[in-house]
Every structure is written in C-alpha cells, then in structure tokens.
Amino acid sequence: MTAAARTDADLIAAHAAGDPGAFAELVRRHRDRMWAVALRTMRDPEEAADALQEAFISAFRAAGQFRAESQVTTWLHRIVVNACLDRIRRRQSRPTVPLPEAGPGEPAAAGDAMADRETRLVVGEALAALPDEQRVPIVMIDVDGYSVADTARLLGIAEGTVKSRCARGRAKLAKSLGHLRNPSADANVPDGAGDAGTRQPGGTRGTRQWEGR
C-alpha cells in the first residue's frame, strides 16, 4: 500500500508499529494547516515554528495513545494548541520581548486570490494586535471552533472569564476591522486594538450567535 493510499489513522498505526517513514508522511500532510493554527495563536513566526516542532515531537512520542475514534487532525490540532499555550505561558513568565514590526506575517500561498490574501492579512494583523489573554480564546473559539468549555479547560480559566475576554477582544476587533463605523459607538471601544484595517465589512454578516459558542 502506498503512503498516499493510507489514511491518517493508518499512518499513526504504522508509526506506532515501528514504520519509520509513517509519521513523516503525516507531518507532510498536515504541516501547512497546523502552521496556520500555530501562527495565529503565537503571532511571531519564529515562535510559531518552534511551537509546531514541539507539537509534532509530542505527537510523534504520544502516537501510541491515539484512539481511532477521534480524528487525527483534531488530535494534532489540540496538541499544537497545547504547545502554543505552553510557550505563551513561558513567554508570560519572562520579560516582554517586542514583536517584529512585520506583524503576524502570514505567508501567502502561490495562487491565492489577492482579496483572500488581503482579508487574511487584515484579520491576522487585527488579531495580532490583541493581547494574548484576548487573542488566544478568540482564536480557539471563533477561528478554530473550540467550545467555550473546552477552551476554558485548556486555558485553565473559568468559562465566564473566557466569554468575557472574548467579548472584550471582539469589541476591539469590530473596531479595527472597520465593522464599527458609528463614532458614538467607537467612543466606547477601548483603544489599543490598532488601526490595522479600515476597510468596510464585505457582506460577511453571519447568523447571530448569542452565546459565545
């Protein structure tokens, strides 16, 4: 059976059984997607790359504990997020290191539509301007789709705190992304979100979700 024909679960099983090439194939398959997760969680590309390395090493060593009932991508995603959170906690225990001026620096893939690239950069920059305690839960819940309960558990904080931090961060993002145009409303939004984006919302109104998902 060729590597391409094997499922992710097959590769995990083969790796656990001693196939030395199986995990490398898994890394090749999911590297870019997990890179995006690490980058928007960490902001700094160098730190994102380090976190991703730690995550894949952890997954390599823990593959024997993988249970087939969950998806490999979900399992990997959680390991990457955990590795990022570990690094953020370590970073918070050290003196502040200024981020590079280039911002999150999400690289563009060849062939990306310009509009798509612009959107990603603008949203990425707006997210990068948020402090860790607001950006991380927003990324986990609004971008990566974790529940409030899972996010609270992974971050080790109360669900109410998660919701509150998301609320503060979304308010800043709504301003920096240009969704809040009413000056009287703007006046109530705390500064510090940066002015990364001034474009108008592009018809992306979604169904209102009153709970923090």
Partner: protein, 192 residues
C-alpha cells in the same frame, strides 16, 4: 446564574456601552438580566449596529479558519523536517532518516524463478552426491582385490542377498554401466 450579575446596575435603557453589548453578545451576562435586556436593545438602532458589527467580526474570524492554509515557509519547513528526521533516527535507528523503511516481511520473488533456482541447486547437489558415491565405492573396493559377503560390516537379514562386488566384476564395461563414466584416470588399466 451563570453570568455576571451586576446587582441591578445594568442599564435597561440606551445608550449602552460597546463593552456591555459585547458582554451580552458573548453570553457573559446573567441569564435573567440578558432576557430582560435583549428586547430593549433590539429597539435601539445604535445597539443593533454594534451587535451586527460583532456578528460580522465573528463571521470574519470563522472564515479565517476555513480558508486554505498558506504554505509553511520553506526555511521553517526544512527545519521541521530535520528535527523530525532526527527524532525518527533516535527512535528507529539511523536508517530511518536515510532510506525507506525495510520490508517487514520476507521479500516476494517470482515463484517460477524460485522453483527453477531450487531445481538447479538440487540437481547440482544430487549430481555431486552420485559422483562422490561412485568414486568412494571404487576407492574402497579396489585395494582389497575382492570381498565376500561374510566380510561386510553389516548384513541385512534374510531375503535377497546383498549386492556384492567382487574383483571379477571390475572390468571397465561393468564400471561404465554402473556409473556411466569411462574415464577413470590411472584406474583405466585393468591390471592395476
């Protein structure tokens, strides 16, 4: 009582701050407070504008997660590959980072080719055994000039008498008939 109870301080009339509306939007407020507040904010265009802006923000964030991921920069990807190869080499041995994995079962070969090779090997061994047996018989028998049945080391019991080779049988025609060879080197001379 899962959210914030502001102790009756939550204003039920506009204007509301963006922070309060964001809390309401995110489910931060106490359930009873939120139930009273929602009908009020729906009546206020400014509040609705803020809530729509928060919806649009969430939608944009969700779209970020569904777009195709950009490729990991080549430098970082190469570094990751090197780290993973080193980890594989530590775990599985040095061959992991250099060569594809060895087959975990005996290699599969063509059956006809395997049979042919086996038959060739069997033929050579059988031929060598026949030749060795024939030469051994001649070497053992000739120096004694003849044998009798009683001199044999072991005698089969009963039935057909054992095949006994006497010096009278040792002419070249008989030997040729037995072993199929006519060249005996120095033994060709019957007088020896």
């Amino acid at each position: 009582m899962t959210g914030i109870d502001r102790g009756g301080d939550t204003p039920m009339e506009p204007p509301w701050t963006v922070d309060l509306l964001a809390d309401l939007h995110a489910g931060v407020l106490d359930t009873a407070v939120a139930q009273r507040l929602w009908p009020q904010v729906h009546q206020d265009p400014d509040a609705v504008h803020v809530l729509n802006a928060l919806d649009a923000t969430k939608a944009e964030l969700a779209a970020l997660g569904t777009r195709p991921a950009p490729a990991m920069p080549a430098g970082y990807a190469a570094r990751l590959d090197a780290v993973m190869a080193a980890e594989a080499a530590r775990t599985f041995g040095a061959q992991a980072s250099q060569a594809p994995p060895p087959p975990r079962v005996a290699p599969v070969v063509d059956l006809a080719r395997a049979r042919k090779r086996r038959n060739q090997r069997t033929g050579w061994i059988a031929g060598a055994l026949v030749a060795a047996a024939a030469v051994g018989t001649v070497v053992i028998s000739l120096p004694h000039g003849g044998t009798t049945p009683g001199e044999a080391g072991s005698q089969p019991s009963g039935g057909t008498p054992p095949l006994a080779l006497t010096s009278g049988h040792l002419n070249s025609a008989t030997l040729t008939a037995v072993i199929g060879r006519s060249d005996y080197g120095p033994l060709t001379d019957p007088a020896r």
